[in-house]
Symmetry: C2
Subunit: 163 residues, 2 copies
DNA sequence: AACGGACAAACTATATCGCTTTTGTCCCTA
DNA sequence: TAGGGACAAAAGCGATATAGTTTGTCCGTT
């Protein structure tokens, strides 16, 4: 039984209130995967990830209601997923949640695909004329890790996303 | 005067209607940077980029009104920008426009930065325990380059933009 | 061809209202 | 300490009505 994390531990680690943890459990947003013999909650590692993801989305301005809808939409869209909040990569603010999966980015709710390319656009216009675009790197490698630079080059960088 | 592109050329290259080009000019969404002696419009190369960006945003489901607001917000947020539509990297669908600039992603309208990263999250939780997450790649390498083009994919595309 | 004007249809945005969800506080039981 | 219940403030949502934009079509001028 030393397996999971207690409610207290969970909420301290994740940074949410007692009330939230409880409500989320009762309403099945995130439930503890295990129980003590006495029936008390025990959150697994994966549960913590789910909790943290929820917390993050909330901090990003996504309402709990919206999170629920996104989960529903996601499980419908990607049936293989069992627990979206802990199995998928999300990115969000306010009322949009983007999902990164299988090399694509799309909106969970609508399933509408997002992103991409700039290069094409440039070429398209260039084709009309012999005009030369300034530099070569259209997509500045947008690396989460080393997102140091870019700040130097003023203005524009095209770009893309991430991983 | 052989400088820029005529209205007709511009709208053919960009793929918008006569009416749109005119309206956008009159309402200052995108104006020709130059004029013929006779006072007729001459769109520069950069103008075409701006036009194309606008077109792309529209195709991605962003309304013209929203584009205007985003431009306003962007120039307020990044005063160095003169013409957001042709100087910045955008990505969008429906009602959200994401701006990539200086290694960050944020919503133009609100200025709110986008959240992301799951990896970090994983580490955070892992730190609490020695537990090992299943795989390595959370964000499947999302590489623009190798994501073939999308032009072939049928008609309406979600999409995104840039520049 | 480029542009403008008038008019109408299609589309977007904004504000509002009633309803539901979420969270906090306080208290109780095991 | 974990968890439940009751209650209320706060936040969020969906539908709707109203006002404002954008675009197409038709016509006229330069």
């Amino acid at each position: 039984m030393a397996e999971g994390f207690s409610s207290k531990q969970a909420r301290q680690i994740v940074g949410i209130t007692d009330r939230q943890l409880g409500y989320w459990r009762r309403t099945e947003l995130v439930c503890p995967s295990e129980r003590t013999d006495g029936g008390h909650a025990r959150y697994t590692f994966q549960d913590l990830i789910a909790l943290t993801t929820a917390k993050r989305l909330i901090d990003a301005g996504v309402s709990v209601q919206r999170i629920r809808k996104n989960i529903a939409a996601l499980t419908a869209l990607l049936p293989t997923l069992d627990r979206p909040l802990s199995e998928v990569s999300l990115m969000a603010t306010g009322d949009v949640v983007l999902v990164f999966h299988g090399g694509m980015a799309f909106e969970a709710l609508s399933g509408q695909e997002w992103i991409f390319p700039v290069a094409e656009l440039q070429r398209q216009v260039e084709a009309v004329r012999g005009d030369a675009p300034e530099q070569g790197e259209l997509f500045a490698g947008w690396d989460m890790q080393q997102q140091a630079d870019t700040t130097d080059r003023d203005g524009d960088d095209p770009l893309a996303v991430a991983s």
